[in-house]
Symmetry: C2
Subunit: 407 residues, 2 copies
């Protein structure tokens, strides 16, 4: 069964909005065993939208599209779907009453309650744009609104059930996914190439993101090979594996299960490390907070970094990173502490410390402080992401394998 | 001239990686006057890749594609392009020498220096994957690597120049873009509908993101209408406009030009507000830092929030938000201070303060503290984004228009 996804909107094509809906749908559909073969972003222009959807439907059993269902002037998807499925709108008075009860007397409710005659309506519990499912042997179309949280709610509460009813997954290939931190793609690639040449039927993917790697094996027969390959990688890199996809999730699980807490002191990452950890629900169960001491005065005042250290070694130095960790232990009750200080650029680099120079220190209360220098890509957002991923990798390997990175 | 963009990789289709390259290319091409008509994400499967690129080329004058040019096992784009343009690889020894000088003796250099015979090579100054431009009257193809920072460097340093040489922009429609904060899309929509019905030839887009709006008008004749429409919106919402696209950029410009500084105290946003500000180069010129006091103890210790306030009013209260701002003025030299405390969920909501309840306080040293409650969407990442956008909107309107939000 061929499944394609579509995102609709000039704001996506022109890059004003990053297409997170495509990623959400890709992930959710893949997890449910569907093979997504293509994702297309179409403009708000009615003819281009009609053509693009028509082509996708002709190639696929099911197309899941997001966007253009709202009440504003550039929302055209509902009308285009009427042409595609040769139908018209009709008032759904239940839907109208339900929205009125939930949202009050909004001017857009009348229009938003008019639904295509031959579509199944998917209830939106947050906004005013319902989703629709058109079933057809010549390609079925599911339309979902473009606002991510509305789309996600409808997908999970309504669409998912309809998919398994109308599009049951029959044969499914098996996959195994491994996640590794503090490892480069080139260290892993030779092993994957060996496996690939011995098993040409296997699908092998390696997905590096700054500071961590994801490896995926997929086969449609002889499934026990998957375990053998995973075991092989586990043996070669025993202290780099983590329970993915997100390393901060693995860290959260480890610290909560031990009843331990974490405090952060950030300079160049500017709160991005803390923000990443806080993106997970329940972060408050182990995370005390972060002192984002972007200025030297803050490093002294809030973290008791010595004035002499800042003067003599500089704010970007291993000594300052160490003292930031010591300051966290002094000012808070944290069991673990991470400090990051560096130069994310584009300005501020020196001959000694060019842009991308980052110092990281990680300590356990009463234990050693592991501290050292890394070189991140000399590009502001990449440097920040690389530094925080590296710090998380170092903390994870210390927690899970008692591996110190720098000492 | 029709231009399409393509991103290649199973990790994008399956949602493990968010497609930021598509957004980058869309933005850059649009800014240069190209009209991007479609963006497609294709899988790493050779036949699907071949077909998808072939279709895109048959529809377009130019296709710009990213991904699959690396040295690892799942990088297939270069080989597929050989089939599309009926050519073969040849060794580029200048490229090889250049990479060896820059990167040392990496095992992948030999393979990465083999380039398609009839393509223009685009130098990668960061990694090992060069880009390629195949020129053809039946559709030209530009291939760029998938690693965002490498792709962006090649695009800016090499591709951009080649585009204007080989694909000069002839006629170009004019556009005007307005950015508004602390305003809902429904407040603006009636005005846009009026304009649209009086001027059916105008392209009007409204792009809400959590807490701010972008409005775009485009016409291909009678360009002075653009100014009239902009002026009309300016008159109706005089204190909501900011110099977009990013409100934190507008705030940074304002504070640096006044020589004033900003300090933050964050609870539920967990560093996301500070991290957003730090994403801009030069943030250190006005931003002192953020105390991310995720725990009550930190609010007392670092921000001198009174124990009684936390006990009696709770950490999520307007009083705590005010005291966090007062604490920042006491502990730091900041001219402006923002505090955010709230419940991002999914847990922690109460009857009085359900998930999505956020208190924001904004103060100027020696001036009033503007503080109050907002209701954010009850969804963790949306609540965090909404809260920080709202706080930035409130700070901007205070800086630019002396408008207080809550008082």
């Amino acid at each position: 069964m061929r499944v394609e996804t579509v995102a609709i909107g000039n704001e996506i094509i022109e890059g004003r909005t990053i297409d997170t809906n495509g990623a959400f749908l890709g992930r959710e559909l893949t997890e449910r065993g569907y093979r997504v073969s293509r994702h297309t972003v179409l403009s708000d222009e009615p003819e281009a939208l009609f053509q693009g959807l028509k082509e996708a439907l002709s190639r696929s059993t099911l197309v899941v599209a997001t966007g253009g269902l709202g009440p504003t002037v550039d929302d055209l998807t509902k009308n285009v779907s009427l042409r595609l499925f040769r139908t018209a709108l009709q008032m759904d008075s239940n839907l109208y009453d339900e929205m009125r009860e939930r949202l009050g007397d909004l001017p857009s409710l009348q229009e938003q309650s008019r639904v295509p005659k031959n579509a199944i309506v998917l209830r939106n519990q947050i906004g005013t744009a319902p989703g629709f499912l058109f079933l057809s042997t010549e390609g079925s179309l599911m339309l979902l609104p473009g606002v991510p949280r509305e789309m996600e709610q409808i997908f999970r509460d309504e669409a998912s059930q309809l998919l398994s009813e109308h599009f049951p997954v029959v044969a499914k290939e098996q996959t195994v996914c491994l996640y590794l931190c503090q490892l480069s793609e080139l260290e892993l690639d030779p092993i994957l190439r060996e496996i690939q040449s011995a098993h040409p039927d296997a699908k092998i993917g390696i997905y590096p993101s700054l500071g961590s790697l994801q490896v995926q094996f997929a086969v449609s027969r002889d499934f026990d090979r998957l375990d053998q390959w995973a075991e092989r990688i586990r043996k070669i890199f025993p202290t780099h594996l983590f329970d993915g996809p997100a390393i901060h999730e693995a860290i959260q699980r480890a610290l909560i299960s031990r009843g331990q807490t974490l405090a952060l002191a950030e300079s160049c990452t500017g709160g991005a490390l803390c923000s990443r950890l806080v993106s997970m629900p329940n972060a408050s169960k182990y995370l005390l907070g972060s002192v984002v001491a972007y200025s030297n005065e803050w490093k002294e005042h809030f973290l008791s970094v010595k004035h002499e250290t800042l003067e003599e070694q500089g704010a970007v130095s291993v000594e300052t990173a160490r003292e930031m960790v010591e300051g966290l232990f002094q000012h808070t009750k944290a069991d673990f502490a991470i400090a990051i200080t560096g130069i994310a650029g584009p300005i501020g680099g020196t001959e000694e410390n060019p842009v991308g120079t980052i110092f990281i220190a990680i300590g356990e209360r009463g234990g050693t402080i592991d501290a050292g220098k890394i070189m991140a890509p000399p590009h502001r957002t990449s440097a920040i992401e690389f530094a925080l991923q590296y710090a998380l990798g170092a903390l994870w390997r210390r927690l899970a394998y008692q591996t110190l990175t720098f000492i």
